[in-house]
């Protein structure tokens, strides 16, 4: 079963990370899911693949009533992002799924109906969660051609999808980055190969530098906090991406 860790809390406004399942088969990439709650509603951010649904659901339900989930945010279209969609919709068929317009007719192959999907434009979207304003931030070509991140200005949390992701070896899989130089070695190959555009990377770094971010939360690996956030942005800015290792 996955563990939950509340990474931000202010009354009923919470960010909960759902992470690290010791029982997960090794052939599945490890993913982080995030639950944002405000008032009586919850939004699940990159809910994960169908195969890990039981682990995510059980962990989430320990913290929050799954039937009160009002929305899913899918940063892009990959199966590890939202192939569990049909299963989540069993709990609340009225649930909305926010996704880039580019993928709004692809992701329904995982489940849902016309009413389920909110197609987000390239420039991003303001999303309201029971009075909380969240912002979908453009991150196209990082890595998907239709890719958005989620920013919570109040919590100062940026969910950064695959940006900041690291493939951590056993024993170095803490929830937070505690040694940036050591950690970033596990992120370098991933970013060089998966991030397709230096121009897109540059734009993202410029945008992220202007945002107040206490925690940068990727979908794989550990969370950057405090000074490590800007450290990561600077590192990413200097990295040549779109390169194949061979």
């Amino acid at each position: 079963m996955k563990k939950t860790k509340t990474i931000f809390e202010d009354g009923k406004h919470k960010w909960i990370a759902i992470v690290r399942d010791p029982d997960k088969p090794n052939y599945l990439i490890d993913t982080n899911e995030y639950l944002v709650t405000h008032g009586n509603q919850g939004m699940l951010v990159d809910p994960g693949g169908a195969e890990i649904f039981p682990a995510v659901f059980s962990a989430l339900s320990a913290e929050f009533d799954p039937s009160a989930l009002s929305a899913i945010f899918a940063s892009h279209q990959d199966p590890d992002i939202c192939s569990s969609l049909a299963l989540w919709l069993e709990f609340n068929p009225q649930m909305r799924c926010y996704v880039s317009w580019l993928w709004s007719s692809f992701i329904p192959h995982f489940g849902g109906s016309t009413e389920t999907f909110v197609a987000m434009p390239d420039e991003g979207l303001d999303i309201l969660l029971d009075g909380l304003h969240l912002q979908a931030i453009p991150a196209h070509y990082l890595h998907s051609s239709g890719n958005l991140h989620l920013y919570d200005k109040v919590a100062k949390v940026l969910f950064s999808g695959d940006v900041g992701a690291a493939l951590l070896p056993p024993g170095e899989d803490g929830l937070f980055v505690d040694n940036f130089d050591k950690h970033i070695r596990h992120a370098e190959g991933f970013h060089r190969r998966w991030m397709g555009s230096n121009e897109a990377k540059r734009r993202w770094c410029e945008r992220a530098s202007q945002m107040e971010i206490d925690m940068l939360c990727p979908q794989h690996g550990a969370i950057y906090q405090g000074a490590d956030v800007q450290r990561f942005i600077n590192w990413f800015d200097g990295l040549q991406v779109g390169l194949c290792g061979s």
């Binding site: 039981p54 659901f57 059980s58 339900s61 049909a86």
Partner: protein
């Protein structure tokens, strides 16, 4: 040890549904070949009608039977088209059942893992929906079996027509040889279809063995 395990291990629902899918796909392939053969009968019957006309009064009975065989081939094709539609319905439903099984297994696991068995109602609703799908599959299976029985009876009638045509061919005087050849081909083709349908009626998709 291996044998004991093999004898005592019961297949899972997903495995059974997977086997069902394979069986219905095979039935569909067989039906496709029967449809092809029934089209051949139509052409053969048309040729037989022309041959009977050339043979004149000596092949009048053969001509009547050729017309009947042509009607039979059209009825057979209609019957096969209806069977194909039913098979597609069965394939869809078996696929839905397969998807149900996978979803339900994940939901059940989620509910069992979650504190206070959260989500039991959703699981129960899913299981009720699965029951409806399973019942629909049972109905479709029965309808398909009944349609196969109807087709089989029709083909038996076709066999009688073909055999009667063989007898009539003997009275065809100078045309007796070509008429016998044509009626023999009819009989062979109808027998081929009959054997196919007989095999389909014994398919484990219906018997469950």
């Amino acid at each position: 040890m291996t044998m004991t395990t093999a004898l005592t291990t019961r297949p899972t629902k997903a495995q059974l549904a997977g086997v069902d899918l394979l069986r219905i796909v095979r039935i569909n392939e067989e039906i496709k070949s029967v449809v092809g053969v029934s089209f051949k009968i139509n052409i053969m019957a048309l040729n037989a009608i022309f041959l009977a006309k050339r043979a004149g009064t000596a092949a009048r009975g053969f001509g009547v039977l050729s017309n009947e065989l042509r009607v039979f081939s059209q009825d057979l094709r209609d019957g096969m088209s209806a069977l194909t539609r039913q098979i597609h319905g069965c394939v869809t439903e078996v696929s839905v059942v397969l998807q149900d099984i996978r979803h339900t297994a994940l939901l059940r696991q989620a509910v069992e893992l979650s504190p206070a068995a959260c989500g039991r109602l959703v699981l129960a609703a899913r299981e009720a929906e699965n029951e409806r799908h399973a019942e629909r599959l049972v109905r479709l299976r029965k309808q398909l079996r009944a349609a196969l029985d109807d087709a089989f009876r029709m083909v038996e009638l076709g066999g009688v027509l073909a055999k009667s045509a063989k007898i009539e061919a003997a009275y065809g005087q100078s045309f007796a040889v070509p008429l016998s050849q044509v009626s023999g081909e009819f009989d062979g083709v109808v027998e081929e279809i009959r054997a196919s349908l007989e095999a389909l009626r014994r398919s484990a998709f219906f018997t469950g063995n």
